[in-house]
């Protein structure tokens, strides 16, 4: 598996607090990786370090096998970054912003960026400051996409967008991956939007990695168990979360539930069940299978 983004023991300290710590993960090339976690989990910190905007306090971060170097033109050409704050030169018009992007980037897809905004009926001759927050978010995405990068690091790209616009962005990302083989890492709070498009999931909680695995492998290795709540001691599975309603217990477990008794009903969870379970249990054992393990098991699944 070729790796687009790899971190090893990555950490970033802000004065005395760690924004992210001991983060080791790999994002496969050509995948769309979803990055979820509560506020302050370290999502933006991770993305900023991958984009070269922040410097790690410890550990390493590499993009396409090379250590991130924000002063390397080669690195900058390969990576597109959308900041959560959507900073802009607000005195420029939309068109001037796109021209500015064209002058600063060697491979600039002006036609696509312009078409994207025209299709959204965003007036190109308007100053950025006159646009709505949602329109500004679209322009920020257009600038990021116009760069034609191999790796897109998008910090909450769906925020401020209406549901229709979100669908448009999702389609744009899918098209980009299909046509150009782009790798995408995008953070979001809305798991239901990530599920249909993300083939890789990363869950951060309390500044550390809880889950980093291909989505299919994640789904295949987690199960919802519904059964009596009296006693449930399992050897073969790792209980991530449990809910008790009356006499019935619903458990989200990681592992093979094959040897359980007939009183337990096994259900396939959706991604949201898994994410919420891990987020509710920040001290749960991390689920970070090695790339070889997940590839092998995915092969077995298929």
């Amino acid at each position: 598996m070729a790796v687009a983004l790899e971190t090893d023991g990555l950490g970033r300290r802000y004065l005395t607090n760690w924004g992210l710590r001991n983060c080791s993960l790999q994002v496969p090339e050509g995948s769309i990786a979803g990055l979820v976690g509560p506020n302050g989990a370290g999502k933006s910190t991770l993305i900023r370090m991958a984009a070269g905007i922040s410097t790690p306090s410890e550990g390493t971060v590499s993009v396409f096998g090379e250590r991130v170097d924000p002063n390397s033109a080669t690195f900058l050409a390969r990576v597109g970054y959308l900041d959560q704050l959507r900073p802009f030169y607000k005195h420029l018009s939309v068109e001037e912003t796109l021209e500015w992007g064209a002058r600063l980037n060697t491979s600039w897809d002006k036609a696509s960026a312009t078409k994207w905004l025209v299709d959204l009926e965003i007036p190109l001759d308007w100053k950025i400051s006159l646009l709505s927050i949602g329109q500004q978010a679209q322009v920020a995405l257009a600038v990021c996409m116009g760069k034609s990068s191999d790796l897109l690091l998008l910090d909450e790209p769906m925020a401020s967008l209406d549901p229709l616009a979100r669908q448009g962005v999702i389609q744009m990302l899918l098209d980009s991956v299909a046509e150009k083989g782009t790798t995408v890492l995008l953070s979001s709070h809305i798991v239901s939007e990530l599920e249909p498009i993300c083939d890789y999931m990363i869950i951060l909680s309390k500044s550390r990695v809880q889950v980093s695995a291909p989505t299919d492998y994640l789904l295949a290795n987690h199960h919802l168990l519904v059964g009596p709540h009296e006693s449930h001691t399992f050897d073969s599975v790792n209980v991530i979360s449990s809910k008790i309603a009356g006499r019935q217990a619903t458990l989200l477990v990681q592992g093979d539930p094959g040897g359980l008794g007939p009183e337990w009903q096994v259900i396939s969870p959706d991604l949201q069940d898994i994410v919420l379970a891990y987020l509710a249990k920040p001290n749960a054992e991390p689920f970070v299978p090695s790339s070889e393990t997940s590839e092998l098991n995915e092969g077995e699944l298929s």
């Binding site: 905007i53 924000p70 033109a73 900058l76 970054y81 704050l85 900073p87 005195h91 500015w100 980037n105």
Partner: protein
């Protein structure tokens, strides 16, 4: 890049341009005032330099001093309004994150932004320096026949040094904007730093060329040699032992003699002490100007390099 920088600074550039135009207008007006004063006061056979004897000259001198101060402030304004926000406002608005994630390296970004403002600064200041030179020369000539520009007030505004000084403050402002954040305001820091540079250079400048030492008569009369007749820059007077004279008593330091003699000039002379005046002659004007400019340009280079170093290591 250039367009962005120009658009960002459009209002400030227009304001500074208007300031320069206003200065030129005032220079022309004060030039006429000095010419008139020279005519009126000259007719009365009174030295125009002694404004207290001639109202026209006093008024012209007063206005001339104001214009000199206003001209001296121009490099500080350039540093404050163009230099300091060059990087500071990008960091403040976080637009650096947008710029630094494009295909251009931080070094190129910084150098291009700096050049976009440094080149016009040098061009405008050079053209302005020609006008100031014309103005200052005519004013000094009006005030004192045979006078030069080697006086603290004129040294500050005339010649090539102000051009380099403006470039230095532009770069110093940028450097401060690059390095000072979070705990201190880069703008307040810039003001302090600019004034500090100005103060230090006023102290250093007289020493950039060998001073002419003129002994003062024990009774306070100084006979200027021929080389200093053309209105030299008086630096200061100091006590010192007459060179070559060995004083064989217990008073071996200037301080000891001063304490012992208690202001008696004859006693000073008896102990080999003299008062000397230090001057920079008018002929040193361009030597001092170029050396001062050289220091500013070297400091600009250092600050630009430090800014690049700092920006390359910058982390959110």
């Amino acid at each position: 890049m250039t367009q962005i920088t120009w658009r960002r600074y459009r209002i400030r550039i227009i304001a500074l341009s208007l300031y320069v135009v206003a200065l030129i207008v005032f220079m022309i007006l004060t030039h006429h005032a000095f010419q008139d004063a020279a005519t009126v006061c000259g007719r009365l056979h009174i030295d125009v330099n002694l404004g207290r004897h001639c109202n026209a000259a006093a008024s012209a001198e007063s206005h001339g001093s104001l214009v000199e101060t206003a001209i001296a402030l121009l490099p500080l304004f350039i540093g404050f309004f163009l230099g300091t926000p060059m990087v500071a406002s990008e960091l403040e608005r976080k637009t650096n994150r947008l710029a630094w994630s494009q295909g251009i390296t931080r070094t190129k970004w910084l150098v291009r932004t700096w050049l976009t403002l440094a080149i016009p600064t040098v061009v405008v200041m050079s053209l302005f320096a020609l006008i100031v030179q014309w103005w200052a020369t005519h004013i000094v000539t009006s005030i004192s026949s045979g006078g030069g520009l080697i006086q603290p007030a004129q040294m500050l505004i005339s010649g090539v040094a102000p051009i380099a000084f403006a470039l230095l403050l532009l770069t110093l402002g940028m450097f401060i904007g690059t390095t000072v954040r979070r705990f201190f305001s880069p703008y307040a820091t810039s003001v302090v730093a600019f004034v500090a540079v100005l103060a230090v250079m006023q102290f250093v400048l007289p020493s950039l060329a060998a001073k002419v030492v003129v002994p003062t008569h024990p009774f306070g009369v100084t006979h200027l040699p021929n080389g200093l007749r053309s209105r030299p820059w008086f630096i200061k007077s100091v006590y010192r032992f007459v060179p070559g004279i060995h004083v064989g008593n217990h008073l071996r330091t200037v301080g000891a003699v001063l304490q012992f003699c208690k202001g008696n000039p004859m006693c000073y002379q008896a102990h080999g002490l003299q008062i000397v005046s230090l001057y920079q002659p008018a002929s040193h004007y361009w030597v001092l100007q170029w050396r001062e400019a050289g220091i500013y340009i070297a400091a600009t280079g250092v600050l630009l390099s430090l800014s690049i170093w700092s920006i390359r290591r910058w982390s959110a």
